[in-house]
Symmetry: C2
Subunit: 401 residues, 2 copies
């Protein structure tokens, strides 16, 4: 008999039929004698619909009131799922974020969990009830509703698993695990049985949208083993944990991120502090810069290229353009027809020749490499967006075939 | 500078345009310096939509989970209205039932308010914020969400007005006040400037769906003057209060209720306690009986006729049929093609000839009278449903023309 935290996303509660199917899955696990805490997201497109309704009334609504509005989504999910479990004759209780209570800081719409009260959940579990918890939402010190940011129901699940010292935390998704590459694009992509937190973090930030980053970080911090599973089929998924046994594979996956663009400042004065001032300008407006390349020109000037999220491109460019005189550069180039292709693996840097093998695969596939960035567990290259599918396929074939 | 509690129904928050219009109305009153507490119902058909969603998942869902689900409706309303007021640059805060907190007993889906905490609302008013409160919902001693029953946002408003000792409680509706008869049906129907609580209670229970009965009872108990106003036009409505100055009109209105049916037990044994056992059977299942007529037959049997809500007809008949042997009656007749037509007036019984005038009007209009029931402030007659419009018109003409 184990205590298991499960989390189902919005597509699992999008309509009555799906709700009943998930209820059946929960019922099976309950019948095995497990104590179950189930975290749910808002149904299907409900969050987007609510945002649209708010926009019609006030495009600049306060974050506090947005949180009051959006938190109705998960409340709807837990109530309907409770009803579906009642229909199966099971003891169940739904709890909102404030009922649990999930205590957060006061940053509306992007709150951080500070602590979670265990009393209510534990007393419901003691009565052998299935406990349904509305994800994504909490309560701040003013007794106001807060939300944790888009996709943060995963974080609610992992935080609950940590506080309750659950035996496992199962995140049910549209995919059935973490793959060595996007299985819709790469025919030979294989499901990983296990992956480390660090690898998962790199993969998530590289565009493999399986788990929310904050939930993986929290899992790592509190040692919660997270399993990514399919909500459609009963089969083992991928376990995210501290150390994996799979030493034989040096890299765990190939990822592609097309949500990036490159900005180049050309003809920058070659003097100390210039790079600092460039990136300070961007940091002040919370624009995250990823790969950076600095090249010294021959005529006393230098070029600085870097990547930002594609959505930030124009904002970043205009912030820098406004500082053109102070920074002293000749021109700004932007390019959003690029993609970042990366390989991730915990054992990568200790093995020799991984980078060389990757570059060889790209050379064979006639893909030009723009910028290169490496860390302890990943190597990323910038390529033309049009080449990126071919690049991922070539790299995946080289490492996994 | 007054403290005013306002309540707007679901049609006032049905879409962005209506929300903005109501926000404008609130803004005007705020600009006059009033302290405002505004109670809102769920938007338009949202409650019905949620009930339908629940039914798809589980037609026999628990009341606890229904309350979790339905309470999202008013939460949606207060959040959107807060955003609309923010767009006008006004200081505003939305509060749910548990945030206020509106403390209720544990009867889910039909909870009674036990007390209301004033602290949060008063501290928000002290900061000169407009306080929006989700109607219809509360919090029980288990920290579970409860709802107060359909239409009970009126009750929330009056309870808040009582607790906060508000200067007035304004209920905004689709109609602009209380009329001497249904203004859509009776051309000469006049709006009343004032009406007593008791008259309003009789009118509400007789099918004049303006105010929720429980809210009028609460207004009477705590001496809260309730004003019924139009949410579409700025003009005086009808004030519901203890004593009215309008002594000259003996009756305040004519009402028609078609949601009734008549049940007759024929050939009942004429022995003591039979009537008691009949009505005990119904009371045990919470079926409310209205007008009762008992007639002694000539052959040692008697007939008992009574009216029940039309929705209860079949349930009442089958409960009694199951007791046929014990009660000892020959047969049950039911008739739902009837209507109850009533006149209401606080000064009625002290004035002579009111009943006679009513019966004369019906006689002139050739309407047959079935059963008759009288109380301190009303006279009701049962007529064929097909005759009921003509009956109301005839009575109204007699008294008000």
């Amino acid at each position: 008999m184990a205590l298991v935290v499960k989390k189902f996303g919005g597509s699992s509660v999008a309509d009555a039929e799906r709700i009943r199917r998930v209820a059946g899955l929960i019922a099976e696990d309950y019948s095995m004698g497990h104590d179950l805490v189930v975290v749910l997201s808002a149904p299907g497109d409900m969050t987007d619909d609510l945002i649209e309704k708010a926009r019609e009334v006030n495009p600049k609504a306060s974050r506090r009131e947005m949180d009051v509005l959006l938190s109705t989504g998960e409340q709807t999910s837990v109530a309907l799922m409770a009803m579906a479990l009642e229909a199966l004759g099971l003891p169940v209780v739904s709890l909102t974020g404030w009922q649990v209570a999930v205590r957060t800081n006061t940053e509306y719409s992007n709150a951080r969990i500070e602590r979670i009260d265990k009393e209510r959940i534990e007393s419901e579990l003691d009565r052998r009830r299935i406990v349904l918890v509305a994800g994504f939402q909490g309560l701040n010190k003013y007794d106001d509703i807060t939300t944790l940011g888009r996709g943060a129901s995963d974080t609610t699940a992992v935080a609950l698993a940590a506080v309750l010292r659950a035996d496992s935390c199962q995140i049910y998704t549209d995919v059935d695990g973490v793959y060595t590459a996007d299985p819709r694009k790469i025919p030979g992509a294989r499901k990983l049985a296990e992956i480390t937190y660090d690898e998962m973090l790199e993969l998530a930030s590289l565009g493999a949208q399986v788990l929310h980053n904050r939930c993986v970080q929290m899992g790592k911090r509190y040692g919660v083993e997270i399993e990514v599973l399919s909500s459609f089929e009963r089969k083992p998924g991928t376990k995210v944990k501290e150390v994996t046994d799979l030493e034989k594979t040096k890299i765990s996956g190939v990822a592609r991120d097309t949500e990036v663009s490159r900005i180049a400042l050309v003809g920058l004065r070659d003097e100390p502090g210039v790079a600092f001032r460039v990136f300070q300008t961007l940091a002040r407006d919370k624009i995250v810069v990823d790969i950076i390349l600095q090249s010294i020109g021959r005529d006393g000037t230098q070029d600085i290229s870097f990547t930002v999220a594609r959505a930030d491109t124009e904002r970043a460019a205009s912030l820098l353009a406004a500082q053109q005189t102070q920074l002293g550069f000749a021109r700004i180039d932007t390019d959003d027809k690029i993609a970042k292709v990366s390989i991730v693996g915990a054992g990568m840097m200790s093995a020799s020749g991984i980078a060389a093998t990757m570059f060889e695969a790209l050379y064979d596939a006639e893909v030009n490499i723009g910028m290169i960035s490496t860390s302890e567990i990943k190597i990323s290259v910038l390529v033309d967006e049009a080449d990126s599918d071919r690049a991922v396929q070539a790299i995946h074939r080289k490492f996994f075939d």
